[in-house]
Every structure is written in structure tokens, then in C-alpha cells.
């Protein structure tokens, strides 16, 4: 057997470039394109205040005279609109930049929340087993048997009832994050529980138990690092779903307040004008949402394959 002699890569960056995951990235055109699109969208959202030609939420800069300007043209007042403008004379392009900001922020926070909750419960269920496991996993099962958007709607509705009307506007985003996050934890819990049950049988866990290491430390220091792979994959794919969930809720009018429109809100506004010929108000936000969700999803798919060579 001739040994494969890897040309030992130097330094941390060298190691990353030489790693199998990076190799799989380099050789996957889908992953490269998806990551480029995702990066552009994320950067656009992040630097919205500097990139956007107009501030779409400052009523003073809005001019009704600019309303319904088609894409790539100038309005009566001489302003140029790349993606056209809506009925209030808002620049669609700027609105998309600010809108993806809200969408991404809500999506990311929701998935982080779901991840922390799901991973913790999954670890506990998998490690403790028995009654704890049964209770946690049955709750997850019940929840997974409903469409998650329905759960989010339910949570959103309940929260509306609890929070006093005066604070509803300001709390709306947090309620949204909570609702989407809570409807998504079960996926994490299931995967993590399975992996935990496999890992806890392994002798390195026994070795720690012999030393009397407390279960909480065994979970955090020993088992957690070994379950992050699948969790990362679910989180990436989940992010796409969370963004769509937010858009759906906003489209239904129960999401973020109209003063802070997300991509979903923009689509809701746009669809009113679709049949009167002002297609761009709906079209561009919708395409952005599709590109964002699709690219993140494809990245998640690629990550799953890259981290699990058996699936290739």
C-alpha cells in the first residue's frame, strides 16, 4: 500500500484551503454560484443605508408624483428608479434592500432561537432517555404533525392577545422571531437526540463518566462538538425556511409592522397592483425572496453532502 503523502499545508488558512470541505466547495459550481448570490444579497441588506439611493421609510422624501414609475426610467420629478417605484413613489430597489434586512434578521434570529432550544432539548432527551426522552419527543412529534406555519400563526395569535395593544407594534418583531423559532425546534431536537444516543454509547463518554464528570459537562464538552455537523446543515436549510415563513406571515399581514416592511410585506403590497399592470412592485421583491431562499437552501444541500461523504 503506497502511502498518500499529502503536501503538508502550512498555517491555518493553508489548512482550510486544503480541507476536504473546501475542496468539495471548489468543485461544486452550484455551491459557488449559490454562495455568490447569497453573499451579494446579505451584503446588500447589511449595507442598505449606504447603498440604497433613497430612504423608502422617510415620508418626507416620498413624493406621490413619483408613483408607479416603471423600472429603468425617470419619473416626472426627474428621479431615476432602477426597479421602478410603488404607488406611494417609494423606490422598489431601496425597499428591497431594507426589506431583505428585516427578512434576514428575523430569519437568522428565529433559527438561532430554534437551534438553541432544539439542540438543548435534543441533548437532554438523548442523554437522559426514559421518561424525559418520551415527554420531550412526544411534544416534538405532536408539533411536527402540524404545518409549522400554522403553529407560528397560533403562537402569533396568542401573543397578540397577551401583549397590550400599545406595545404590539414594537414587540411585533420579537413575537415573530419567537413564533417562527418555536415552530422549528423539533427538527433540531430529533436529529440531535439521535446523534446523542449514538455518541453516549461510545467509550469516550464512559471514560469521562468513570472520572465522575458531571452529565452537563459531558453533554457540552464531549457530545455537543460531535453533533454540530448535522446541526449546521439543518440550520442552513432551516434558515431558508424561516425566511419563507416570515415572508408568509408578513404576506398574511400578521408579521412585521408596515412601518418596517420585510420582503413578505413588499410582496403583499405588490400583489394589489399585479393586475393593473404595475408588475414590478410585486416582481422584484418576489425574485429577491426566491433567490435568497434558493441560494441558502442550495448551500445547505451542498453542506450536507460535503459533511457526509456517504451521501455522495
Amino acid at each position: 500500500m503506497t502511502d498518500i503523502t499529502p503536501s503538508a499545508p502550512k498555517g491555518r488558512i493553508g489548512k482550510i484551503i486544503d480541507s476536504d470541505v473546501f475542496y468539495s466547495y471548489r468543485t461544486s459550481p452550484v455551491a459557488i454560484i449559490a454562495s455568490i448570490i447569497a453573499t451579494i444579497l446579505v451584503l446588500g441588506a447589511l449595507f442598505a443605508p449606504w447603498i440604497a439611493p433613497y430612504d423608502p421609510f422617510n415620508p418626507r422624501t416620498l413624493n406621490l408624483m413619483n408613483g408607479f414609475t416603471p423600472p429603468m426610467s425617470e419619473s416626472f420629478t426627474g428621479n431615476f428608479f432602477l426597479f421602478g417605484s410603488d404607488h406611494q413613489g417609494r423606490d422598489v430597489f431601496s425597499a428591497i434592500l431594507y426589506g431583505s434586512r428585516v427578512s434576514l434578521m428575523v430569519g437568522l434570529s428565529a433559527i438561532m432561537f430554534a437551534m438553541v432550544l432544539g439542540v438543548s432539548l435534543g441533548l437532554i432527551a438523548g442523554y437522559r432517555g426514559g421518561l424525559t426522552d418520551t415527554v420531550i419527543m412526544r411534544i416534538a412529534d405532536v408539533q411536527l404533525s402540524f404545518p409549522s406555519i400554522l403553529i407560528a400563526l397560533l403562537i402569533f395569535g396568542v401573543a397578540r392577545g397577551i401583549i397590550p395593544p400599545s406595545q404590539q407594534e414594537s414587540m411585533a418583531i420579537f413575537v415573530l422571531i419567537f413564533a417562527i423559532g418555536l415552530s422549528d425546534w423539533a427538527q433540531f431536537a430529533r436529529t440531535v437526540r439521535g446523534t446523542t444516543m449514538v455518541e453516549k454509547q461510545k467509550d469516550y463518554v464512559s471514560a469521562a463518566r468513570i472520572l465522575g464528570v458531571k452529565p452537563i459537562f459531558i453533554l457540552i464538552r464531549h457530545i455537543l462538538p460531535n453533533v454540530v455537523g448535522p446541526v449546521l446543515v439543518i440550520a442552513t436549510i432551516g434558515l431558508a425556511l424561516a425566511i419563507i415563513a416570515e415572508a408568509t406571515l408578513s404576506f398574511l399581514g400578521v408579521g412585521v409592522p408596515p412601518t418596517q416592511p420585510s420582503l413578505g410585506t413588499l410582496i403583499r403590497i405588490g400583489q394589489q397592483f399585479l393586475f393593473s399592470g404595475e408588475w414590478w412592485i410585486l416582481f422584484y421583491p418576489a425574485v429577491t425572496l426566491i433567490l435568497l431562499a434558493l441560494s441558502v437552501n442550495l448551500l445547505g444541500d451542498w453542506l450536507r453532502d460535503a459533511l457526509n461523504p456517504r451521501l455522495r
Partner: protein, 563 residues
């Protein structure tokens, strides 16, 4: 070094392989698993292929059967079965050859049988696919085959499912299945490695007898020189994808020519050689080794463990017929003298690992006591703390016993940190470096991850971890059974040396009797959870009292048995 037998004019070789290469095209370059090997197998001959892990022996068998998938590539001048070329055939023609002309027996009998069909259905299907028989005739033939393979009451057992057979019986079924279509060649890849010694001996006999009766040639692939010695006529020694040596089994075992073969054979512990410490003690005129010291370090009294395998909580509480209790360990007593090694021997399911887990504190005993220096380890918090301080464990599988996400340095330092022996980072670093040196590893290894090491090196890391809290008593649960023989010899040697250096006491658990004879001072034999024999090592090996021990000793395949 490759020797090709000249084809005798009278009989043509069943299998003739010329210049076989298996290359895997990986992104870091080509990896040659089998590097240009040539050999012949004559009709009725058993050819043993032996080598350590990674030698390319299984790859050779798989390549002959045409089962190498991408990115692997098989090239050969020729592979011929009874003079017909079988290399480069398309998948469809190859499928007709597999099963019909080449039978296969794999290591794990559970995965080679379909759990959803009865044994009979699988046999009849195979027979009818390849032979022109009707359902009834095929069934009769299947019963005959099972009877030949030594399955008692074959007519009654033919409609059982694979899980209703024991491991040994299942492997007999797999052998019948391999022979069902009357093949000319059987390729057996580690057919007995998953089985206990007593069963292993029977399976080798069955395989050898059946093939001899039918004139079937056998390619027997194994890492176990003892199995080859017992079963094969001629053997090939492989290393790094090449044939090192080939010839009649007796010649190679008694007069190995190549340095690699010599080293390999020397590394095999023989069950016939006496315990070195015993020999030394006798030479000095002492009667027993070590002599009885004052008080034993560990005493186990009437230890029992019952597992409740009842299907539901209901059955557990109510009892009755559905209550299923398993006595894994039943009333076991023994004691271990300080500075000695106590060997615990038994087949799978004998309760030896359960014993180990109770002594180390992972499982609570159902009844009985385990005393460490006179104090019960399960008594109170203080006793638990003392147990953690003084008892450590080395596990069987060095791939599962080291956390793959931790650096070696952190792994070895874990006991030091967990037991609060030291909190000073530099002091811990120094100790880890010292431990690595003592297990003959480079201290720079502490910054690497476990996957960067071989199996033997990982086991050294595991030993270093066990030593880091300065225990007095170490439980070694099959410490070398996942390792190659040459590596096993090194690890055992290291264990002996560390024992002297630190005055350690070992509880050595193994199914390998030769290892136990070489290492232990006293031995206990477990069978189905019961201690059938307990005494000093040479007494047990030279004059066993229990029938079970005698049977176990006779069953061990040994290279010394070759004429």
C-alpha cells in the same frame, strides 16, 4: 517475490490471477491498494491469504468478484476462472458468475443474510436461480445442504428466520448458501473473525470438510495466522498490496524466509508458550509467581448483575410471563493481588465486560460487593471519590474511546482536570508530554487530533489517559483485540513495562487465551455469567479442572499445530 505455480498439465487452476492491480483515484493522488499480484488456486485447494489491516487482502477478493466501485479501478493482465477470462466482463455476466461459479462467505453472518426471509427461502431461491430444479427438489437440496453444514434438525429449522440462529449457526447457513449453486470457488473473507473461539473451530472444520467433499477451491482471507494454520494448504502473505511470500502453510510457518513474515509470526502469542514471569520464577526456585502479598487490592464477592429486558414498564412492575430477566453476571467472586495481572477469560456474552463496568463504577451491581483496599466502592461518596482516583480503564476500540473533536493533549489531561489533581496549565502540559514519552509517542502529538494516528498509536494515547491520574488499578477491556498482531505485541509489551514502572495492578479482560497466558498471573474463566474456574495462570493452562476451560483451550487455532 511473486511465485506463480506452473500449471500442471493434468489439472488446470480453478482461479488464475495475473498481475492484479487495484488503484483508487483520489484527489490527493492515486492510492494503490493491490499492487500487481499473481497467484493460482488449484481444484480442491484451500489458499490462505494472510496480512495485517490495509495489506490489500480483502481488496483482492473483492476485485476478483468484480465488486470494486468507483473511484477504484481494477487492472490485471488476466483473471481466469477455469481458463475463462472473467476480468473486464460486464456487470450482467459477472452477476451470473457470482453465486453460481464463485461462492462468497463474509465476516458478519447477520448482514449476509436477509433478515426478512427464512433461511429456506433464501437457499431455495439461490438453488433455483442457478440449478434446474423444481421447488420441491430445491427444498430437499436445501435441507441436505444445511445438514451437511452441521445444522441439527435441518428439516425443522429450514423455515426459521436468520435471527433465530446463533452466530455460529448463522455462519453455517451462509456457508450452505455459498455452496448452494455448486460453485467451483469459494471466497471466504474473515469467515470466523466475528465468532467465539469454540465456534470458530467448528466453522473452519465445516468449511474445510464441505469444500474437500465437493472439490471446491477456497480462497480463505484472514488476519488470523492460527485459522490459516488450521485450514489452509498453501498460503500467501500480503503486505502493502504486494505478495511477500507464498508457499505451503507448514513451510511458511516453520521456516519463514522473508523478514516481514518472520516478524509477523514472532509477534503471534502462542497459547503453548508458558507465562514468562512464571518461567522466571520457577528458574529462581520460587513456587508461585509474585507470592501471595498481604492484602489484595481488589476483592469481588458474590457479584451479580441482573438486567431487566422486559418489553414494557408494565411487565416490569407486574412480573409474570412477559417479565424477562437476564443474569449477566451470577455470583462471581475473585480477588486481585497488588502489582499483579488478573486475567478474565470468556466468550461473548460471558459477562466479562459487565464485570469490568461494575468494578469501574459504570454499572451498579444487583448484589454482592466490590472492595477496593477493603472498602466497598459503592458505599458512599468518599468511596466513590477513592474509586475515581485509583481505578482507571482502557477500552477495546481505540477509535471510539477518544473523542474525535478533542486534541490529544486535552484527552490525556482530562483525568487530571476532572479529578482536580492540577489546575496549572504548564504543569498539566508537562505531565501530558511526559506521559506521551512514556507510551513512546512524540510529545508534539498533543496538538494533533486522534484521527491523525493509527490504531496502535491511539491505544497508546488511551493508555496515557488512563495513567494520567496516577491510578493504582487499571481495567483493560480487550485492549488489543482491535489491533493487528504486530501492534498487539507492542502494546502488550508497553503494558508490561508500565506495570513494572508504576507498580500497577491490571484486570485484563480478553477472549484471546494466548494473550491471557502471556500477561496474567492469575486467571478466572467466565461462562454464561458464572465463574467456572479461578486460579494461577499455569495451573489453569496446563491442568484445567473445568470441562469448559478444557474445551476452550482445545478450540484455539494455533500455528504450532501445523505439521
Amino acid at each position: 517475490m511473486t511465485e506463480t505455480l506452473k500449471a500442471a498439465p493434468v489439472s488446470q487452476p480453478v482461479l488464475s490471477v495475473k498481475d492484479l492491480k487495484v488503484v483508487f483515484h483520489l484527489r490527493r493522488g492515486d492510492f494503490t491498494a493491490v499492487d500487481g499480484i499473481s497467484f493460482d488456486i488449484m481444484p480442491g485447494e484451500v489458499l490462505g491469504v494472510v496480512g495485517e489491516s490495509g495489506a490489500g487482502k480483502s481488496m483482492t477478493g473483492t476485485a476478483i468478484m468484480g465488486l470494486i466501485d468507483r473511484p477504484g479501478e481494477v487492472t490485471a493482465t488476466s483473471i481466469s476462472l477455469k481458463g475463462e477470462r472473467i476480468d473486464g466482463l460486464d456487470e450482467e455476466s459477472m452477476r451470473r458468475i457470482r453465486g453460481k461459479r464463485i461462492g462468497m462467505v463474509f465476516q458478519d453472518p447477520l448482514t449476509s443474510l436477509n433478515p426478512l426471509y427464512t433461511v429456506g427461502e433464501q437457499l431455495i431461491e439461490t438453488i433455483r436461480r442457478h440449478l434446474p430444479l423444481n421447488e420441491k427438489q430445491a427444498r430437499e437440496r436445501a435441507i441436505e445442504l444445511l445438514a451437511d453444514a452441521g445444522i441439527p434438525d435441518p428439516a425443522g429449522r429450514i423455515d426459521s428466520y436468520p435471527h433465530q440462529f446463533s452466530g455460529g449457526m448463522r455462519q453455517r447457513v451462509v456457508i450452505s448458501l455459498a455452496l448452494a449453486a455448486e460453485p467451483e470457488l469459494v471466497i471466504a473473507d474473515e469467515p470466523t473473525s466475528a465468532l467465539d473461539v469454540s465456534v470458530q473451530a467448528q466453522i473452519i472444520k465445516v468449511l474445510k470438510r464441505l469444500c474437500a467433499q465437493r472439490g471446491v477451491a477456497v480462497m480463505l482471507i484472514t488476519h488470523d495466522m492460527g485459522v490459516i494454520a488450521e485450514a489452509a494448504d498453501r498460503m500467501i502473505v500480503m503486505n502493502k498490496g504486494k505478495i511477500v511470500e507464498t508457499g505451503p502453510v507448514g513451510d511458511i510457518i516453520h521456516r519463514p524466509q522473508e523478514p516481514y513474515t518472520i516478524k509477523l509470526i514472532e509477534a503471534i502469542p502462542s497459547i503453548k508458550s508458558q507465562n514468562p514471569r512464571y518461567v522466571a520464577a520457577v528458574a529462581k526456585g520460587e513456587v508461585a509467581i509474585g507470592g501471595k502479598t498481604d492484602a489484595p487490592i481488589v476483592t469481588v464477592d458474590n457479584l451479580s448483575k441482573v438486567f431487566d429486558l422486559s418489553p414494557s414498564l408494565f411487565a416490569r412492575v407486574l412480573g409474570g410471563k412477559s417479565r424477562k430477566l437476564v443474569n449477566a453476571v451470577n455470583d462471581v467472586s475473585f480477588s486481585i493481588q497488588r502489582g499483579q495481572t488478573y486475567g478474565l477469560v470468556g466468550e461473548s456474552g460471558s459477562g466479562k465486560s459487565t464485570c469490568a463496568r461494575m468494578i469501574v463504577g459504570l454499572l451498579e451491581p444487583t448484589s454482592g460487593s466490590i472492595k477496593l483496599e477493603g472498602a466497598d466502592i459503592w458505599r458512599d461518596k468518599e468511596a466513590t471519590a477513592r474509586r475515581r482516583q485509583k481505578i482507571q480503564m482502557i477500552f477495546q476500540d481505540p477509535y471510539a474511546s477518544l473523542n474525535p473533536r478533542w486534541r490529544v493533549g486535552e484527552i490525556i489531561a482530562e483525568p487530571i482536570r476532572a479529578l482536580g489533581i492540577s489546575k496549572n496549565a504548564t504543569e498539566i502540559g508537562d505531565r501530558v508530554a511526559d506521559l506521551l514519552e512514556r507510551v513512546r509517542l512524540d510529545p508534539a502529538a498533543m496538538r494533533k487530533y486522534p484521527h491523525e494516528f493509527s490504531g496502535g498509536q491511539r491505544q497508546r494515547i488511551a493508555i496515557a489517559r488512563a495513567l494520567s491520574s496516577q491510578p493504582e488499578f487499571i481495567i483493560c477491556d480487550e485492549p488489543t483485540s482491535a489491533l493487528d498482531v504486530s501492534v498487539q505485541a507492542q502494546v502488550l509489551e508497553l503494558m508490561s513495562r508500565l506495570q513494572e514502572e508504576f507498580g500497577l495492578t491490571y484486570l485484563l479482560i480478553s477472549h484471546n487465551l494466548a494473550v491471557i497466558r502471556q500477561m496474567a498471573d492469575a486467571v478466572g474463566v467466565l461462562h454464561n455469567g458464572v465463574m467456572v474456574e479461578n486460579g494461577e495462570v499455569e495451573q489453569i493452562f496446563s491442568d484445567p479442572r473445568a470441562d469448559y476451560t478444557r474445551m476452550l483451550l482445545d478450540a484455539v487455532p494455533d500455528i504450532a499445530k501445523v505439521a
